[in-house]
Structure formats: C-alpha cells, structure tokens
C-alpha cells in the first residue's frame, strides 16, 4: 500500500517569466515500511519537496496524497500521523529537554505522551539530560533530541532531512538501527535525505535522485551504482613502474601514478583485458585493489554532468 503518492508535482518561484522551477513535474510513491532516499546536489529540489510534503510550501501544480487522502483537504488528519526532523530546524533553546518534548507530545495529541517520552529519551540516551536546557546540549545531543521529537507520535510516515548530520559514528549507528527497527516492527515509512552515501546505501530500500528539480534516476542503491560503468584499479609495483606507465600510456588508459602506485580509471568489463596486457608484458604487481563504484560515484557523476551542462 502506498503511504505517500506524489503526482506531477511542480513548484515554481518568482514570476512566470524569469522565475525559477525548484521542483519540475516529479512523481513518486512511498510504500508502507519502505525507506526511500531522496538524493541530489544542493539546489536539486529535495528540501522544497519535503517542505511541500509537510504543507509548509504550496505546490504550483500536482497532487500529494498521504494515507490515501489528498493533503490540502486533510492536513490535520495527515500531519497527526507523520513527523519530521531536519538539520535546519531547531527546538526552543530556552526550554528544557522534557519541556520541548512534552510540548510536541501535546501538539500531536499523543495519548500517553509522558510515558512515551520517557521511553524515547532512554532509547536515544538523553535520559540524564532531560532537565537540561536545550541550549546547553551539544550538536550531537541536539540531533538526538530532534529525533525524539520526530518519533514522539509514533509516525506512520517520517521525513528525515540529514538526521545524522552532526552525530558521532556510534550514535549514527544507533540512530540507523533505531530507524531500521521502527520500519521492521511498526512498518513506518521513511523519506530520507543524507549526504552520507554509505548511510543511504545501508538503510534505503530505494533511492530517487533529483537534479535541477527533476528525477534523473530511481532505483535501489545497488542498482544506481551499477549504472556507473567505471571502476578504479589500484596497482602497486615494487619494480618496473616506468614500464607499466609506458604500457598504460600506449594503450591510452586513463591513469595517475604516485610513488609505487598506479590508479587506473577503467570500465569494469575491461579490467580483465588490462590485467591480461600487464601479464603478457611480464609486468608483475605486488598488490591490486579494485574499487567498485559506490553511490557516491553516481552522485559525483550526476554533479559533474550538471556542471558540464
């Protein structure tokens, strides 16, 4: 069942002539219990899309349905079942941790909010900080507080914009596990943005890649990385480095070398051919590493194309 359905969504800012299209006719859906990554370079339209989904910005055209209901006509009903956390949104800094969470417990009309918050602050390791003022928390503690707020109403749909931006690796791991557990046990649907590609690969079931307001790719993280044909072959030569360089030059490989190491950018299917040529030339390497493309490579390629265009 689709928890979120976006159809032909467009958002234009400014006058019709000379204005700016932040989101350009995008359509996607999010299923129950699915984690969907929304990726793209700065200015791709991710945040505008999230703002529209939260009802903070009105779309120019297009339809947004959540839980089978049109958003505008059912705003309260829908927002009660969803929540969000974003790196650019804070909580009142002169309130204590528990005061902030109680406020949002009441705003979302959570039945047993005091008990629920006590459990949450323990899970996010904030229990000892509950009586601290928000402005005395570190950035990592603040991020955990924002996540507590995001989970306070047990949302069916969660929008997370860079949720682990300021977290230590161990706490990031805790947060990722928490999200994955929620998805598994409570079928929470998550729309997730992050600049940490390894994180996206780890937790997202599917990724939508936005560029200049348009969806340029939609696939699983692994599927997207498969679209990158090139990989990197790292070779170490104790001897014959010069000969190896000459061979690569003759065959017009794209490579760079530092000390005893040569790094070759090559199509994945041509790695065998390269190794065969080295073998025929009796050039022995002491070590070889083949770096397969990652989501980060896909991200960089899209940005590179953007800059070239």
């Amino acid at each position: 069942m689709a928890i979120l359905q976006v159809k032909n969504l467009t958002k234009k800012f400014g006058p019709p002539a000379g204005g700016f299209t932040a989101v350009d006719n995008i359509s996607f859906d999010l299923k129950e219990g699915e984690i969907l990554g929304l990726l793209g370079p700065n200015g791709a339209g991710k945040t505008t899309t999230i703002d529209i989904l939260l009802g903070l910005t009105k779309p120019t055209t297009g339809k947004v349905e959540m839980f089978g209901l049109p958003f505008e006509a059912n705003r309260e009903k829908i927002l009660k079942q969803m929540n969000f956390s974003a790196a650019y949104v804070n909580l009142p800094w002169r309130l204590k941790v528990w005061e902030n969470l109680y406020t949002f417990g009441r705003l979302y009309e959570v039945e047993d909010y005091k008990e629920k918050i006590e459990i949450l602050i323990k899970e996010f390791q904030l229990f000892d900080l509950r009586n601290k003022l928000t402005d005395s928390l570190s950035s990592g503690q603040l991020t955990r507080l924002y996540l507590c707020k995001a989970f306070v109403n047990n949302p069916r749909l969660l929008l997370l914009d860079e949720p682990t931006a300021f977290l230590d690796p161990d706490i990031s791991d805790l947060v990722r596990k928490y999200i994955l557990n929620k998805v598994k046990t409570e079928k929470t649907s998550v729309l997730f943005t992050s600049h940490n590609m390894a994180e996206v690969t780890e937790i997202c079931d599917r990724v939508i890649f936005l560029n200049k307001g348009k969806i340029v790719a939609e696939d699983t993280p692994v599927g997207l990385t498969k679209r990158i044909k090139f990989c990197k072959v790292r070779l170490f030569f104790d001897l014959n480095l010069g000969k190896a360089e000459l061979l690569l030059k003759n065959y017009k490989y794209n490579f760079s070398s530092v000390e005893k190491e040569i790094l070759v950018d090559i199509e994945e299917e041509k790695v065998g051919q390269l190794l065969g040529r080295l073998s025929l030339a009796k050039l022995k390497y002491s070590q070889i590493t083949i770096e397969k493309p990652t989501l980060e490579h896909f991200f960089l390629e899209v940005i590179r194309n953007k800059n070239e265009n």
Binding site: K11, F13, A22, T47, T48, D51, L54, G55, L56, T57, K58, R75, E76, K77, L79, K80, F84, A86, Y88, V89, N90, L91, P92, W93, R94, L95, K96, E99, Y102, T103, F104, R106, L107, Y108, E109, L133, K149
Partner: protein, 263 residues
Amino acid sequence: MRIKRIVAVVIRHLYIWPRSPERFMWTFGWPFFGLLIWGLTISFLQNNSSSNFSFITMIIGGIVFWEIIVQPQREISINFIDEMWNKNILNLFASPLTKAEYLTALVIIGIIKMFITVISLTIGSIVLYKFNIFASFGLHIPILFINLIIFGITLGLFVNSLILRFGISVQEIAWAIVAIVQPFSCVLYPLSSLPVWVQRISVVLPPTYVFEEMRRILFSNKIEINNLIFAFLLNLLYLVLTIWFFSVMFEKAREHGRLVKLN
C-alpha cells in the same frame, strides 16, 4: 479547534517566562517604571498647582489602560518572532496545529500577561498614589477592557501579518507599533486638544473612545455607552479584517516559499 494543541502552545510560552529576564521586564518592570516616573512627575505638578483637577487619576488611568493594549500586542507579536529566532516555526506548522489554534494560543498568552501587568500596576497605583482603577471604574471595567484588549490583539495580528509578508527584517515594528498608535489614541489628553488633522485619524481608532470615556467617568462619573459600542463595532471590523489579512498573508507565504524562510 483542539484545546490540547492550544494548551501546548500556551504552556510552551509559559515555560520560558520565568527564565526570560526581558519578558519579566516587559510584564512587570517597564510598565511599573512608567507608572513610577509619570506618577511622581504628575504628583509633583499637582502639588504645585492651584487647580483642583485630579491629573494623577487621569494619567495613571491612562498608563494602566494603555498596558491593556500593549501586553496582548507585544505577546502576540514577540512570541511569533520568538519561534523564528528559535528556528521552531516549521516544527509548529508541520504539526497538526492550525493557524486558528496558534493565533488563539497567542491571544490567550497575551491576555494572561495583560492581566498580570494590570493587576501589578493596580497594586502599584494603590500603594503609591492611592488610586484603584477597579474601584474608580467599577462596572464599566469589562466594556473598557474588552475594547482595549481587542485593539491590542488586532495590532499584534497585524504585525504578524506584516512579518509573514516582509519577513523577519520588519520585526522592529513589533515594538514600535504601539508607539506609533499612541499619540493618536488620546491616552493622556482629550481629543479636542489635538490638531484637526490628528483628530481625523484619532476618531477611527477605537482606543480614543475608551480613553475619552475613561476621563468622562473620572471627572463626571458618567459614561456615553454609545461611544463604547461604536468603538466595539470598529474593533470588530478591524479584527475581522486583520484575521483575513493574516490568513491571506499566511497562504501567500506558503505559496511564495516565504514561510520556510522565516525559520
């Protein structure tokens, strides 16, 4: 309208009150200093005057009544701005909270703070000047208060609408608007003492009628209720127009992406 959500916003602002020295000053400090300075000045002038006319009641009455406008206006506007300073405005409007619930909460906070200020000023004026506004205005208090409260609310919502339209850069108006309106509202002097062009502005401001009637009660113990009914109708008109203006500006802010930029 959900009471629970209105209460959530009211409590959120009451939580920070005890730990905000500037807010204590707005509610207690500055109004009390005004009472002290004006009261002592007028007492001095009164003691050195041969007139039997009681300036002190007129001025103290004006000061206390003026706070009935100032407090709701300031609370409605500053609490709205406070959400922007805290980068919390998106959290609120991305929650099920509606515009009407949010404004209702701001109005409730404004009225609570207004009563606290008025009660503290009343105690101060009884102790310092032996002047009790509740005893002096008796049963007329509700209609006088209601007119001033509605005008304060209207000003507060008007400022918030301007912020939605022009952004946080116009926040200064939240402090300035009462100072702009005050000279035209006949708080400390009668309408007839003003130049004609100023009178033309004053007669369309509801507080003018309230302060005129306040003085009439003090000096002749009479009241022209029709003037206060007219002020009430003017107030209702302005309030309805301002709520409509706020609503339009809010939707325009969503349309043009200005709401998210307030954060």
